[in-house]
């Protein structure tokens, strides 16, 4: 008999009602949340050079996305043809052979890219957390089923699957593209989370919740998932980078609809005439989208590497000024794992 299913529903006796004299108010809860998830990580993040640089670069892209609301759309013949960068003010980054403003092309590609990153990252980590925690916590037949399912999804090659699906469905909405790209990316992450949950579920506070008759979802949300947040956030950044690489690659190949602005399309247009560009010094048409892609990927790598430290409890307590006794333990932070396998 599973203890989780013997939860008392009647309300005549419950552990929660007995503790009502020390009930936390919503205000306190919000303040706790602010302390735990915004203030302390913020302090540590600001102390880590990697997250500082990564955050700064990412801010540039957000500014670009906002600027795209006000800046003109790229169309042909809006500027003189083949302008080099930094020659005139109306098209600071130059123009293409068909007279499109390169800056406008770069800027207008940003909002949909950010939407793709966000939805892809949320989808991949969200599915991975649900499947990984349930499989790891429940064990037995459910674990076996979910693990086999993730194994199968993991074994299907990501990019070709996405290519085939993109051709069949021809998605245009960036949010859908983001989900499509991570359609099986979550599987590897779910496996990793499962193995972490296997150790977490043995903790005494989890056992305490279980004996008190808390429901499985409650245990997962209150006891298990908060412990996984650091890992999940690091992998959110990794998933986001995967979305950038894959989506730009798909746009470059022309598999996703070519009617929108994207750095991959710029890259494709420039590369098709690369032979002609070399002699004329017009390589900026190739370099500018490359820089745009690399910038956002760099920001995401730096964030994922830095966040690894942000959630290391020792570093965090020390920097946020929580405890004096741990201040001397500096040796541990360098061993923060660098799992950055692509």
């Amino acid at each position: 008999m599973k203890p989780t299913e013997s939860e008392s529903v009647g309300g005549e006796f419950s552990f929660e009602t007995t503790s009502s004299d020390v009930e936390v108010t919503w205000g306190e809860r919000l303040r706790d949340f602010y302390e735990e998830f915004i203030y302390k990580p913020g302090v540590v993040a600001w102390n880590d050079r990697r997250t500082k640089i990564g955050g700064a670069i990412l801010t540039v892209y957000v500014v670009m996305a906002i600027a795209s609301l006000f800046y003109r759309q790229p169309t042909s013949n809006q500027a003189a043809r083949g302008l080099h960068p930094f020659t005139i003010w109306s098209a600071p980054l130059g123009s293409t052979a068909s007279g499109e403003d390169v800056l406008a092309m770069v800027i207008h590609a940003t909002p949909s890219m950010l939407i793709m990153i966000a939805t892809g990252g949320v989808f991949a980590t969200g599915v991975a957390v649900v499947i990984g925690t349930v499989a790891g916590y429940k064990g037995g037949l459910i674990d076996r089923g979910l693990t086999s399912f993730s194994d199968v999804m993991m074994s299907i090659p990501g990019l070709p699957l996405v290519m085939v699906l993109a051709v069949v469905f021809e998605p245009t909405n960036p949010a859908i593209i983001g989900v499509l790209i991570t359609v099986n990316y979550w599987a590897g992450l779910a496996r990793a989370i499962r193995s972490q949950v296997l150790t977490l579920r043995e903790n005494s506070y989890v056992e305490a919740s279980r004996t008190m008759g808390a429901s499985t979802p409650r245990i997962l949300f209150k006891d298990i998932i908060p412990n996984l947040m650091p890992y999940v956030l690091v992998n959110f950044a990794n998933a986001a980078r995967y979305v950038v690489f894959t989506s730009v690659g798909l746009y470059y190949l022309g598999i996703l609809p070519t009617s929108v602005a994207n750095w991959g399309l710029q890259l494709n247009n420039a590369y098709k005439q690369a032979g002609a560009l070399v002699g004329t010094g017009a390589l900026y048409q190739l370099v500018i989208p490359m820089l745009a892609i690399m910038g956002i990927a760099l920001a995401l790598i730096l964030l994922s590497q830095g966040l690894d430290r942000v959630f290391n409890p020792r570093v965090r307590t020390r920097l946020a000024g929580g405890s004096e006794s741990t201040a001397s333990e500096t040796g541990d932070e360098t061993t923060a794992s660098n799992e950055v396998m692509t």
Binding site: I142, S155, V168, L253
Partner: protein, 333 residues
């Protein structure tokens, strides 16, 4: 032994599921491949019975049969190695793949071996000099290289080495007119054509792997058994090769085999940039021309390559690392 049987069954199950998935995608999607193909053929003025015969030839399904018969036909012909007939190419899907696959494998396997050789040495040196200027600079360089998608570097290399300096060829597997065979001329020519694709994978891939190796080595260096080995007065050389290197490399082994599969998946972009007719190039061509039999055939082959490499990794990992136990917890809450 039980573990091996279970693992084999799981690998076969995955391949079967992917076969079923491809069948489902070809057959069941509204407005999917078969519907489009039929519309295309009837536009070209074929009669209804002729269209059915053509579709049977292309895809090994008889559209007028009930669904389970079609499925059975599809699976049995796949098991016989018959992947159908390409629509745009006069050759059968199986012969196209047979011609292209060795070239892709050559590029991918060479690249991954190079990536790991570089990553292990570089990462170990970084870990050994942890905190030094070399470590800082190397970490920064690895992150910078890792932020570059391989196709972006590939484009850069083509522009630089093929167009600007004109040292290395920009496209194809070999120069036209060079006969395949074990002659020096052929080998040198093939290597020259493979140099840029391999370089773009290795340069962008090695950095992040080196960082992973660095992390592994640093955590091994902190282990008790390394301290004990030092106290026992073992030589530095013995400690670094027997104690640190072995334990730091072990976790990377699975990554090694799965990375081959991962790069196989990335081959369409790489081979399109270099116009290198491997399976990725044909997959891209098939997608562009809506050549569904070829597309699904290559998709299956890439999947099998990936399943196989993960399978080998799982089976051999226990042999390499004796600590791995395959026992699974059956405790349920």
């Amino acid at each position: 032994m039980n573990y091996y049987v279970e693992r084999t069954i799981r690998a076969l199950l995955t391949v079967w599921l992917v076969i079923t998935l491809t069948f489902g995608m070809i057959r069941l999607l509204p407005g999917g491949p078969l519907v489009q193909l039929r519309a295309e053929l009837s536009r070209q003025g074929y009669s209804a019975s002729r269209i059915n015969a053509l579709i049977e030839n292309y895809q090994n399904v008889q559209p007028d049969q009930p669904l389970y018969v079609q499925y059975f036909d599809y699976v049995t012909s796949l098991l016989q190695g018959d992947l159908g007939q390409s629509i745009t190419n006069p050759n059968s899907v199986a012969s196209i793949i047979g011609d292209a696959l060795p070239w892709t494998m050559f590029i991918m396997i060479t690249s991954v071996i190079l990536i790991f050789a570089i990553a292990i040495v570089w990462g170990a040196v970084m870990a050994y000099r942890e905190g030094s200027t070399f470590d800082m600079a190397s970490s920064s360089v690895s992150i910078l290289l890792g932020s570059m998608p391989f196709y972006v570097l590939a484009i850069g290399l083509v522009v630089l080495f093929s167009y600007k300096f004109q040292i290395l060829p920009a496209r194809y597997r070999t120069s036209p007119g060079v006969e395949a065979g074990l002659s020096v001329k052929f080998v040198v020519d093939a290597l020259r054509h493979a140099a840029l694709p391999i370089a773009s994978l290795v340069i962008t891939g090695a950095g992040l792997q080196a960082l992973a190796m660095r992390g592994n080595s640093i955590s091994v260096l902190g282990e008790d058994y390394v301290r004990v080995a030092r106290l026992r007065g073992l030589s530095d050389r013995r400690i670094s090769t027997r104690y640190v290197a072995r334990n730091a490399i072990l976790p990377m082994y699975t990554g090694f085999l799965t990375l081959i599969g991962f790069y196989f998946g990335g081959s369409p972009i790489l081979e399109e940039v270099f116009t290198y007719p491997g399976i990725g190039y044909y997959l891209f061509q098939a997608l562009e021309n809506r050549d569904y039999p070829l597309m699904m055939g290559i998709f299956l082959v890439i999947t099998i390559a990936l399943v196989l490499s993960v399978y080998i990794a799982d089976l051999t990992y226990g042999k390499i690392d004796p600590r791995i136990k395959s026992g699974e917890s059956s405790e349920a809450y």
